[in-house]
Amino acid sequence: MALLDIKNLNLAMTSYEGETHILHGIDLTIERGEIWGMVGETGSGKSLTGLSVSRLIPSPPGRYLAGSIEFRGKDLLRVTDKEMRVLRGRHIGMIFQDPTTNLNPAFRIGTQLVDVALHAGRADPSVLGLAAGASRGDLRRAAQRVAVEMLEKVGISKAATRINDYPHQFSGGMRQRVLIAMAMIGKPDLLIADEPTTALDVSVQAQILRLIHDLVEERNIGVLLITHNLGVVAQICSHVAVMYRGRILEAGPVGDVLKRPGHSYTRALLNAVPTAYTKRGELKGLNGLMPETAA
């Protein structure tokens, strides 16, 4: 049984201008130990696919027309909100693009981490290393310990004291590490990373990518990495899906898709990245290139 199996996912969103069909039949299967990259331009629906998996699209305006998202055999589109709350954070971890807006500036890093740990611990005390039926005091103490451990694990030095800092005292890269720590506390089986490095410098980006890569090696989790950077995909992903206007144009192992792209759009995307060998004026944008492929 696959870890995540998205079948024929169709999503429509309602706005003042009426209903728009956004996702046209997404099919994607993620196994444990795989890092799936999802690339595409702004508005291609890659983030909405990610949000659908954690079921964070409010309805209305969102409406699923057809399809299913099976996570370990259970259709996420049909579970109750209560079950979903347990899955989120505990079994499905999420990291978002902007580390600044995803941490509450009014609370200490520690408070926010402990909150997440407590939430996961209440659903399943074994996450915090406790037996079922542990007392609230035990849970809280364990949550505090786990928060410090996770912070150390993602490479923040002096975690025991830094945990009392506020988000503004952390740099962008460190905040992103805090978010990764937060996502990993529940020991999820699936991690959804929506543009985790877009707001970061290249050197910090390399560190974060290494961190995600090591987590996959160590815990054998599945990752859905949403990005528009083909360089990032080439670096850490095992598989890649190319999205355009709510459709997956091409999917497969990274080596096959990026080395021998079967679709002209993938080729165009690759040509838009300046490399060491691109001469000035040779770079090709995608303006006016796509209408014929767009249905």
Partner: protein
């Protein structure tokens, strides 16, 4: 016409300690020297917090210098009178990083692009009709059309907004353009279009660029010379090919290694996975 930056140091004052005392200042730029030749594209690479933006603010005269001097065409920018400074700004324009924050949401595109023409009215001397003609000419130059004239910024995509920012910077026919991370907020595909536009404009108008970025691929593509800045100090500078193919400092080498290559075979993570 050249820009000459000589031994520039910028120290921001430290926090107040008591009534008269101040804590140790923060050295944002330390002894930075570089020169940009007419018609060239000069790239400045560095991480966030390395002093790139402080340097541009110093060049525009928005920050005072702690030491050193900045010469534009032989004149020391920080010794000019306010009127001379305003004259100079018509020759020295900037395109900002974030196209979502740098356009006034309550002004039409026409008004946004015409504003520099009004501000520099004593130099440009155009009446309202001529200004509108010039605005249209600029929009066409950056690949927009007359249909866009009276729309508002929120109706445009990121790439289009950055084109509007470029049109505004070009309005007063500057010779020198500072581009502060003009593509970092854009998708790769749109980035390619904006880079090509910048390249075309440089050829057509004979512009000089100071191009600031943390993306080494972009710098390599668009620039002739490059300087690497780290914690307020220039680590190395020289022609793009030299720096990229034969970096002298460990920091530059580290930056180059961190640059994600779209070729999966070159990934540092993929050595273990047999492929």
């Amino acid at each position: 016409m050249t820009l000459e930056i000589q031994n520039v140091t910028k120290i921001f004052p430290g926090p107040r300690r008591g009534f008269f005392d101040r804590g140790e200042g923060f050295t944002a730029l330390e002894n930075v020297s570089l020169s940009v030749q007419k018609g060239a594209s000069f790239g400045l690479v560095g991480e966030s917090g390395s002093g790139k933006t402080t340097l541009t603010r110093c060049i525009l005269g928005l920050e005072t210098l702690s030491a050193g001097s900045i010469l534009f065409d032989g004149a020391d920018i920080h010794k000019l009178t306010p009127l001379q400074m305003r004259r100079l700004r018509s020759r020295l324009q900037i395109v900002f990083q974030d196209p979502y924050a740098s356009l006034d949401p309550r002004m039409t595109i026409h008004d946004i692009v015409a504003e520099p023409l009004v501000i520099h009215g004593d130099l440009v001397r155009l009446d309202a009709r001529q200004r509108s003609e010039r605005v249209l000419e600029l929009l066409l130059q950056v690949g927009l059309t007359s249909a866009h004239l009276f729309r508002y910024p929120h109706e445009f995509s990121g790439g289009q907004r950055q084109r509007i920012g470029i049109a505004r910077a070009l309005a007063v026919r500057p010779e020198f353009l500072i581009l502060d991370e003009p593509t970092s907020a854009l998708d790769v595909s749109v980035q390619a279009d904006v880079l090509n536009l910048l390249h075309r404009l440089q050829k057509e108008l004979g512009l000089t660029y100071l191009f600031i970025s943390h993306d080494l691929g972009v710098i390599r593509y668009i620039c002739d010379d490059v300087a690497v800045i780290y914690r307020g100090r220039l680590i190395e500078q020289g022609p793009v090919a030299n720096i990229f193919d034969n970096p002298q400092s460990d920091y530059t080498r580290m930056l180059l290694d961190a640059m994600p290559d779209p070729d999966p075979d070159r990934s540092p993570f993929r050595k273990a996975a047999a492929r």
